[in-house]
Amino acid sequence: MRIVVPIKQVPDLVEELELLPEGTDLDRDLLTFKLNEYDDHAVEEALCLKEAAGAEVVVVGLDEPEIDQSLYTALAKGADRAVKLTGDLEGWIDTHRRVAALASWLASEPFDLVLVGVQAVDDLDGQVPALLGARLGVPHVSVVTRVEPSGDGAALVHQEYSGGLAAELEVRLPAVVGVQAARQAPRYASITRVRQAMQEGSIEEVAATGADEAAGLRVRRLFAPEASGHAEMLEGNVGEVAERILELLRTRGLLKA
């Protein structure tokens, strides 16, 4: 079985997000990027599959900020190959362009499964799993928490719905799966292992093609949600804030004492 895991860097949302003067994109120079958390789960699920049933795991990323670190980390965790798609990829690349680049590379890479993160926080025009599946002409299932091979040429996946409901689906391979969470918490790679992977210098670079198809959306402006519904902020020291909170509960009869 051959599993491809596309991974992506996203801005760390704990940091302040500053807009460029035009107001249609973030000031990317000020951002810290980190691996999209769902991609960490997709890598984990791929490695679990490899351990349980044997598989070759290939991670692939577009040449976006700090992607090398994440590709090396995936190698350190046990991925077999890491590929970086390079080219003119400055700024905010919309999902359609990303998918076009990934799809044209995948056309020359046979695969049984593509495990992508269920979504990334930074895009507007939809989620990669469905676009990629539609584009490659293979079935896709998103919001998945477990993937297992089932007999020949198929996989069993758990898809989640609201209210804690889920279903087990059987999908014929090749297929694209959007991973919400791996069957277990993503593993860590020690710094020593990541350094070792770096020294082995094993990222393959491939020129991206096809990344010129745009989503067809035009961003008028980005803006912070208006403060209309903003919470009343509790002022004072921690003791005073604690008192206020307990008072709120007391007046609603929710404090026993």
Partner: protein, 317 residues
């Protein structure tokens, strides 16, 4: 080319979801500007027409592959109906269905798609959508050109359709492609109901990734115990294996509506908000003054949870 708005209907146990009724509301407003009809697209047994007031017509497709939900079957059907009718806008909710189908149907129609939509309008003949990005920290206003578009809307963003009579039902034949699917539903998996029922509590203490470490959970558990409230959490703690799934609040967890919801170290991503926005009192503790949760909470504090929680425990005794 028609100017119709096509709404993909979702139901649970025979009841049309609130999100669907909101899409019908959004559809009514859009069709007022576009001049077409609002078509509710129901896939599965029973048209549910009596619950779909707000639609001008229910397009009803029945086929064994459509129930229970099968992503491939729904994708083929929604795309075919949208194409055949020349729908101007296809509306879906940000559920598993919307995430599976929205971008895929758009790809099949060659149309643009916007996800996490919280607003939509027609401005000088141009469809304009507003969507949440960066986990709700920012909104984007985007022009959506073209002859068709798919919008995937967040629950709670539009007023539900109100009033109106039971729409007429138009049976639509199932696409032939439903007989050769590569995806099959093997079994439904019910949630584990052996744990406490967080949906039944008047008071909930909820914790998120701000807790940092599994060992620190003891701290908030102590507060929850002192208040006699169950401990709930955001999704990442469940995915880490730190909290049971039965305690997860949100889109893919449980919807709660307690009298008070005290939250510590939760950012307020749209998926979490979906599960708790109807709590009567929401008090949020988050060190980031720009955390989106403060748009939803009634009271907030930027105190550090590692200071505030012990201070609360001390005072509750």
């Amino acid at each position: 080319m028609a100017n119709d708005v096509l709404v993909v209907v979702e139901e649970q146990d025979g009841t049309v979801t609130d999100a669907t009724r909101e899409l019908l509301g959004a559809g009514r407003a859009l069709s007022g500007e576009l001049g077409g009809e609002v078509l509710a697209l129901r896939l599965g047994p029973g048209s549910l027409a009596e619950q779909l007031a707000g639609a001008d017509r229910v397009l009803h497709v029945e086929h064994p592959a459509l129930e229970p939900y099968n992503p491939e079957a729904w994708e083929v059907t929604v795309a075919e109906v949208a194409k055949e009718r020349g729908a101007r806008v296809v509306l879906m909710a940000t559920t598993t269905v919307g995430m599976d189908l929205g971008p895929a149907v758009a790809a099949r129609l060659g149309a643009p798609v916007v996800c996490y939509v919280v607003g939509a309008a027609v401005d000088g003949g141009q469809l304009v959508a507003t969507a949440k990005i960066y986990g709700g920290k920012l909104l984007a206003e985007v022009e959506v050109p073209g002859e068709a578009a798919v919008l995937v809307a967040i629950g709670g963003s539009f007023a539900p359709a109100s009033g109106g009579s039971v729409p007429e039902v138009e049976p639509v034949p199932a696409p032939a492609a439903l007989d050769g699917l590569r995806t099959a539903v093997r079994q439904r998996i019910e949630p584990d109901r052996s744990d406490v029922d967080i949906t039944a509590a008047d008071l909930l203490v909820a914790v998120g990734r701000g807790i940092g470490d599994r060992d620190n959970l003891e701290l908030v558990q102590e507060l929850a115990d002192a208040l006699g409230a169950p401990l709930a959490s955001s999704r990442p703690l469940v995915d880490q294996g730190w909290m049971p799934k039965s305690r997860q609040v949100g889109k893919s967890g449980l919807k709660v509506k307690p009298k008070a919801y005290l939250m510590f170290g939760i950012s307020g991503a749209p998926e979490h908000i979906e599960g708790m926005r109807d709590a009567e009192l929401i008090v949020a503790c988050n060190t980031d003054p720009n955390a989106p949760i403060f748009e939803v909470a009634h009271f907030g504090t930027t105190a550090d949870l590692f200071d505030l929680v012990p201070a609360l425990v001390e005072r509750v005794g």
